[in-house]
Each structure stands twice: as structure tokens, then as C-alpha cells.
């Protein structure tokens, strides 16, 4: 049976429609998926390490010597304290008690050396820092911080895995 005089969309227009619909759908999917593409998250390098070489705590004055015993330069450290032996988490931020006559400057919640965006404590170097504490501190916890480059800009990174602590008083 022949189909004479039957109307239909021409093949060309059919192609145009298909291609246009495909392009629209692919743009939709791309826009949705693109934000889910995981980018490498910035992490502290594995070889970062500092330790408390010497500590003297007397009459509210804390004299601290830290040493970079890791493979990478660090910018400084975050220092937190506890005020009794039963508290497990150190949450007293001692960076505000920095005695400016010693070394380091306070930046964000950390004590840094060499200025912002610089990792001023090289490997095997030591730094001496003074704190004027206004309450009795039982123990301290220091965590190194670094500036690391990501996407052509320096980002401030806390190296939580390299945290170290020291008890100051006997309870």
C-alpha cells in the first residue's frame, strides 16, 4: 500500500531536532556533574614534625623551645592548653598570651615565624618563644602549621597528624 500525500517532518528537520536536543541534554548533565568532580584536597605533607625540646613554666611565664625535626619547613604552630588533668581536649588558645619580647608573631590562631605566606622554621632549626599566661595551665599541645601552594596561591594548613603535647604541672 503506497502512502501518497502523507505529511511528515522532513529528514533534515528531524536531524536538526535530534542534534539540538542532544546538545541541550549534554549541557544540563555537564553543568550538574561538573561541581561533583573531586579536586585534590590540600593536605599537610607526611614528613612534617616539630617537638618540644625544652619547656620552663614558672610564675605564670612559659618559656618554650621547639625544634623542627621534620623533613619540611614549617611556618609555626598552634598552641592550646588545658587547665586540669581531667580535660582531654586542649581548648585554651594560648596564642593570645604570646610575649612579644620573645620570638614569633601571632597570625590567625597560630604563632608564626618569618612572616605570612612563608615557612620560616627550616628543618633542624629551633625557636624560643615566651608566653605570659594569665591562668594555671596543666598541659600544652602544639600543632605545626604550614603554608602550602595550591592553585598558585598559598594556603594555611594545620598539620593535625603532627600534634604533640607536654604536661606542665603535676596535678
Amino acid at each position: 500500500m503506497f502512502i501518497h500525500n502523507k505529511k511528515a517532518i522532513s529528514i533534515m528537520i528531524g536531524y536538526i531536532l535530534l542534534v539540538t536536543i542532544t546538545i541541550v541534554i549534554s549541557l544540563l548533565v555537564y553543568q550538574w556533574i561538573s561541581s561533583y568532580i573531586p579536586k585534590d584536597s590540600i593536605k599537610c605533607d607526611e614528613g612534617v614534625s616539630i617537638f618540644i625540646k625544652d619547656v620552663n613554666y614558672e610564675n605564670g611565664k612559659l618559656n618554650l623551645t621547639i625544634k623542627n625535626n621534620g623533613l619540611f619547613n614549617v611556618a609555626g604552630f598552634i598552641i592550646h592548653g588545658t587547665n586540669n588533668s581531667e580535660k582531654e581536649l586542649a581548648t585554651i588558645d594560648l596564642s593570645g598570651n604570646l610575649d612579644s619580647s620573645g620570638g614569633g608573631i601571632k597570625a590567625r590562631n597560630a604563632i608564626i615565624f618569618g612572616g605570612t605566606n612563608k615557612n620560616g622554621i627550616k628543618s633542624n632549626e629551633e625557636r624560643n618563644i615566651l608566653f605570659d599566661l594569665n591562668e594555671e595551665i596543666y598541659s600544652i599541645e602544639i600543632t605545626p602549621v604550614r603554608y602550602q601552594e595550591e592553585d598558585n596561591r598559598m594556603r594555611f594548613v594545620i598539620c593535625g597528624n603532627a600534634k604533640t603535647s607536654e604536661r606542665l604541672t603535676n596535678d
Binding site: 544540563l28 582531654e88 590562631n109 600543632t143
Partner: protein, 158 residues
């Protein structure tokens, strides 16, 4: 059967028909796009990626002792807020930390920041879960996002 002629029948020229078809497809495509976009939900971004991915980088320590809640943000993501899921006898409820503690900082807990605040919990409460809330950018401006994934949540047994 007589064949009916199609003489003197009016119709749209093929060129105009093509233009109309393409225009209709574009309009339909836009309608579908907007509909799907509303259905999928708005994307909130932080650090130039989807905020759900940023949740996996959140890292904080928490402790509860003697009526005080202690928090320490040792990750690389600032925490804007905290939701507290309180588990009691056979039930649980989720509240915003700012509603049960007076001194939660308005800007949240920055990287390296610490917080301690007095929180009164009923003796029947067995455990609490702390769920971080981040703030990111969307087409409608700054928006908060609650990180519900297990990696971000901190559990404290009372």
C-alpha cells in the same frame, strides 16, 4: 475514489517552518533545563567545588566534661555552625548549637580555633552527635549546608 487536489492550499514556507522548529526546540530545552535544575536542587560551592565534597575535609575534636562542651577545629575547613543530635531514652532530636549555648561565635569556628561553652544536658541523655554546618556560595548568595556524612560527625558518649 477521487483524489483530492491540494491546489491553492496555504501553508508555511519550509524555511520559516525550520526556523520555528529550532526556536521551539530551544524554548523547550530551556524549559526542561529549568525544570530539572529546580528538581535537582541548587548547588552550593565552597573552595570552588561542591560543598558535599568539602564536608569530607572537615576535621574537629570534641569533648564534653563537667557541663561544658569543648571543640577544637584542627582541619582545613572553617566550621560555621554545629547541629547537635541529642539521643535520649528511645528518642532523639536535633537542635542548633547556637540555640542551647549563648557564646557560639557568629562567624563560626575558624581553622585552628577552639570553643568551650556551658551546655546543660538532661541526665537521661546517653549520647550526642555533633554535625558540622558549613557556609558556601550559591546562585542566591551565601548558604549553609549541613554535613550529614559519617566522616564529619563527632559522637560523644555522655
Amino acid at each position: 475514489m477521487k483524489r483530492r487536489g491540494l491546489k491553492n492550499k496555504k501553508g508555511i514556507s519550509p524555511v520559516i517552518a525550520t526556523v520555528l522548529l529550532i526556536a521551539m526546540v530551544i524554548v523547550m530545552g530551556l524549559i526542561v533545563f529549568l525544570w530539572v535544575k529546580n528538581m535537582v536542587g541548587e548547588t552550593v560551592e565552597k573552595f570552588e567545588k561542591n560543598i558535599e565534597l568539602v564536608c569530607e575535609e572537615v576535621s574537629f575534636d570534641a569533648d564534653y566534661y563537667d557541663g561544658y562542651l569543648y571543640l577544637s577545629n584542627m582541619g582545613i575547613v572553617p566550621i560555621f555552625g554545629i547541629k547537635v543530635k541529642i539521643f535520649g531514652e528511645g528518642s532523639h532530636e536535633t537542635v542548633d548549637l547556637g540555640e542551647i549555648i549563648d557564646n557560639w561565635p557568629e562567624a563560626g569556628l575558624n581553622i585552628g580555633g577552639t570553643f568551650e561553652g556551658e551546655i546543660s544536658l538532661d541526665s537521661s541523655i546517653k549520647k550526642i552527635e555533633l554535625i558540622p554546618v558549613l557556609v558556601g556560595d550559591s546562585d542566591d548568595g551565601r548558604k549553609t549546608y549541613t554535613c550529614e556524612n559519617d566522616l564529619s560527625i563527632q559522637e560523644i558518649i555522655i
